[in-house]
Symmetry: C2
Subunit: 245 residues, 2 copies
Amino acid sequence: MRNLKLHLRYDGTNYHGWQVQPNDRSVQETLQGAVYGVTGEHVKVTGCSRTDAGVHARHYVCNFHTETKIPCERMPYAMNTNLPDDIAVTLCEEAGEVFNARYDAKSKIYVYRIHNSNVRDPFEKDRAWHYPIPLKLENMQRAAEYLVGTHDFTAFMAAGGQQKQMEKEMYEVSVSQQDKLFEIKVHANSYLYNMVRIITGTLVYAGNGKLQPEDMKDILLSKDRKRAGMTAPPQGLYLHKVFYE
Amino acid sequence: MRNLKLHLRYDGTNYHGWQVQPNDRSVQETLQGAVYGVTGEHVKVTGCSRTDAGVHARHYVCNFHTETKIPCERMPYAMNTNLPDDIAVTLCEEAGEVFNARYDAKSKIYVYRIHNSNVRDPFEKDRAWHYPIPLKLENMQRAAEYLVGTHDFTAFMAAGGQQKQMEKEMYEVSVSQQDKLFEIKVHANSYLYNMVRIITGTLVYAGNGKLQPEDMKDILLSKDRKRAGMTAPPQGLYLHKVFYE
């Protein structure tokens, strides 16, 4: 049996996240429908991450087992004619029998986009967090530095998170600004529930003066969710890149 | 009576263009509704241009006469709380009694965005023309040069255009490329019906080899719409900037 690895890109606005939901449209279910349209097979597609409702993916990897003889190079076109415009298959690769898009992921980069202006931008609707209070880039950058390295990120996990391994290795947390657009880039081996959105909310508090950059150290050590900032809304979050061996 | 000049930005995806339509949602009508919400007055808002259904505006100027005492600096906020997320008022200025956003416009810049890839991009849905056949930038740039200057643009006007003055002064027609995204920038004193979309369709034919760059000269001289290229779809077109004295 073949094990196909698909690379995707999707606008999550109209989906209740990746995972199949009883009464809501999910990316996973939509993709499984397209696989059925192409191969006639009912398969379970395994995704690299359970993105939340409204969260986007510039790069997402999933896999499924199939008997189809369709060559990899024809799969993106075949899938895309069976998918809505807000999801695209960009590449298909033959994977080894045991490859699992979720468990084999070595690390992931997320990007969070903030539109910092007192006037909203219609072209950033559903694509960024419109945050009207002025942010100080330098304070956000100084705060971000405290998160790099290996830490217990319990303070940055939403209630309902099921993970047991609270220690994560953070390779990069950087903040950049282009005109009114701030981008937070986070690269870690794995993530706790809502971790990037809580990191973003906390860096925004460092940017607007609610917190001092050096408070980040205490917040990490406290392991107390209430010490960190708000959970930033989903529409600014993008799974940017997934890495495998 | 005050004459207010509003600067806007809008995503045209969900509108049947600028102008009020009997059975469709228009930007003009939506704006007039917001003015009523803010001032209690039923006004006619005059726009700088009749953008088509699905066309966007990064900068659009309109004006209306009003008795309201609300200061200009408070108008963007007041209007935006009465407008849907895909339209934003970015600035309000006091204009002279006789100012007319349409007739007083000296020139306009339009930008047309083409996503040139065999795989569609979900984030460019409704924001660019997805064109899968490879385009040669250099040929498009050479073709564009023929359009600069003062010419009769009859060959680039759609049937139904009512204009009588076919000669237009073209200050700039340039084509640039960043990865898979091509941008055509057009700056003229005024425009014929669908002119930018037909220019785009013709430059795309120069880019894919259907036309030679030097054919542009004959197409202009022919004054024959059938000699020019296709009308590019609306979703790639942006009114980029409007200039006044």
